[in-house]
């Protein structure tokens, strides 16, 4: 079980984290260490791309919640994009999809 | 027997070897057996290595204890970053250099007496002693 995090700067200056693999109790700390410093900057814009995240459990959701809360505190924006159906369901059940901006680039491309 | 303390400055890995050698010779002169000589050399090695890795420069002072009990004393002193959490550094299984059983608890086990004083930002002084049985 592995988690890879690719960190890029977007053209507009925002931070883009692309995550691939499994986000669970063992790998979530790795994402936490990467994302928390990024959102802990005034008005930071951070995008989390989950198109290659095959699996996420509640620990993964916990990290995203922590990042969201910190981002709100620092007046930043946190966008999550390209959720797989399984992850998307998790966002719906937990109510996260109501408060975190979710972009679905894949859908836009195909339509 | 020459009982003046022997000082070895630690700047690079070769100095670690010199410190070990000096300690082993002194231990041999004092009459420590083979295993204890090896233990003393290993302890010096660990201490010198810590200086080399974390403080960059420092000194190992090897001297003879000539009191009621005879033995060898090793002092490792540096002006490096110091150790923030001594309790943690003395805990088994906690090591930043990845060695099994090594580190400061290892040195403490190899020797009979162990004392450490460290101030963050100022440096560390470790005194370790082993007595002849």
């Amino acid at each position: 079980m592995n988690l890879n995090i690719l960190h890029e700067k977007k053209v507009d200056g925002g931070e883009l984290l692309t995550i691939s693999g499994e986000l669970d109790a063992y790998t979530a700390p790795k994402l936490k260490e990467t994302i928390l410093p990024l959102v802990d900057v005034e008005r930071a814009s951070v995008t989390l791309d989950l198109k290659d995240t095959d699996y996420m459990d509640s620990t993964g959701i916990g990290v995203i919640i922590a990042a969201y809360k910190q981002s709100c505190k620092r007046n930043g924006t946190l966008v999550v994009q390209n959720l797989t159906p399984r992850v998307s369901r998790l966002f719906d059940i937990t109510g996260l999809s109501e408060i975190i901006t979710i972009d679905d680039i894949k859908k836009e491309e195909t339509t | 027997m020459n009982i003046a303390p022997n000082r070895v400055e630690i700047h690079n890995e070769w100095d670690i070897v010199r410190a070990r050698q000096s300690g082993r010779e002194r231990a041999k002169e004092l009459g420590f057996g083979h295993v204890d000589q090896a233990r003393i050399a290993t302890a010096i090695s660990e201490l010198a290595r810590n200086i080399y890795l974390y403080a960059k420069h420092g000194e190992i002072i090897i001297s003879v204890i000539d009191g009621e009990k005879r033995g060898i004393s090793i002092i490792a002193e540096d002006n490096g970053p110091g150790i923030r959490d001594l309790r943690k550094a003395m805990e088994d299984g906690y090591t930043t250099s990845g060695g099994l059983g090594a580190g400061l608890p290892g040195v403490k086990r190899l020797m009979d007496d162990f004392d450490i004083v460290s101030e963050e930002g100022q440096g560390t002084k470790i005194t370790a002693k082993k007595y002849l049985r």
Binding site: T59, I65, G95 | G99, G106, R109
Partner: protein, 336 residues
């Protein structure tokens, strides 16, 4: 500690026996000796040193290079000796920690395990098993004066000790607000504020809270991001998702929780569980919700307790007896 001289004599005797007679028996003696050494905390370098001393006694004019080779080996063994002693100490510490955890787990059990109330009209079955020693799952049943039953199931993110500590907090928060028990939405709103104030930002809790009204045979419920349960309609003979929307506890302090209701007819079932049930993982992948329905359906002729026990056993077996997450499954079946 064994006396060094005694040790030397013993080792010398065994080694000579072996050198002169060389048999499986003399080797076996060597194995027994090593066990005895370990029991007495003798390090590998000490054993090697005994060996060198005995050899030297027999070959006083040992080749110098041969002698140096022994010295080299001795040096190499010092590190093993340290690792060995560290291991001994860590084992001791581990035993200490384990007994501490055992006590904590007992304390938690006494908090967690509430009595399951008994009703003529309702058959209740519960099973709750931690993945490790302590559980982050929580459930409770309370029977009130009007013969209403309140049922709660909660799942603290993560597992083990941190989740268990958090769970204890929930338990006390629940106990301290008896007057609101009749309003599931209000219960969750209060708990949400408690959790939001007291818990680490990456910690959250999901909860389903329901109130079964006996005179109406209606279930009022609300959910804070909890894995949806099932409702079984005996009339239609079908399982439906027990859908209730609501944010997880601890996400946003001003969250309001919508209250839902469902009529429960004779033979109907309400099935509640933690995500440890749906996150069951087997070699073939995740257990789908349909699979859970299938397992329940196979056992519908049994009592609620027999159903939950049976489903647990089946899922435990499918996962090779290794639970990845805390597991809680509750079934309420209306009898009359």
């Amino acid at each position: 500690m064994i006396d060094h001289k005694e040790l030397y004599q013993h080792y010398r005797k065994l080694l000579i026996e072996h050198m002169e007679r060389k048999s499986e028996k003399t080797l076996y003696n060597g194995q027994l000796f090593s066990r005895q050494m370990m029991e007495n905390g003798v390090s590998p370098e000490d054993v090697l040193s005994l060996h060198i001393d005995v050899i030297k006694e027999f070959y006083p004019h040992m080749d110098e290079k041969f002698q140096s080779a022994f010295d080299f080996l001795l040096e190499a063994m010092i590190g093993y000796g340290l690792a060995y002693r560290e291991h001994q100490n860590l084992r001791y510490k581990q035993r200490q920690l384990e007994s501490e955890i055992d006590i904590a787990a007992d304390v938690q059990q006494s908090l967690l395990v509430g009595e399951v109330p008994h009703y003529d009209f309702l058959d209740i079955g519960v099973i709750s098993r931690p993945a490790k020693r302590m559980s982050g799952d929580y459930y409770h049943f309370v029977k009130d004066e009007q013969n209403c039953l309140s049922v709660a199931i909660a799942d603290v993110i993560g597992k083990g000790i941190p989740a268990a500590l958090c769970m204890s907090m929930i338990k006390y928060a629940m106990d301290s607000e008896p007057e609101q028990r009749t309003k599931p939405g209000a219960v969750l709103e209060n708990l949400n504020r408690v959790v939001e104030q007291n818990v680490d930002p990456s910690m959250f809790i999901t909860m389903f809270y329901g109130l079964y009204n006996e005179s109406q045979h209606r279930l009022y419920f609300a959910s804070a991001g909890h894995e949806p349960g099932f409702y079984y309609s005996s009339n239609k003979d079908e399982f439906q998702e027990l859908i209730a929307k609501g944010r997880v506890l601890g996400l946003d302090r001003s969250t309001k929780y919508r209250e839902y209701e469902k009529n429960i007819d004779v033979g109907d079932m309400v099935i509640l569980f933690s995500d440890g049930v749906t996150e069951c993982r087997t070699e073939k992948g995740f257990i789908e919700r349909d699979e859970i329905v299938r397992l329940i359906r196979q056992r519908m002729h049994l009592s609620s307790q027999e159903i939950v026990d049976g489903v647990y056993k089946e899922l435990e077996r499918l996962q090779d007896f290794q639970l990845r997450d805390d597991f809680t499954l509750i079934i309420l079946k209306r009898e009359v």
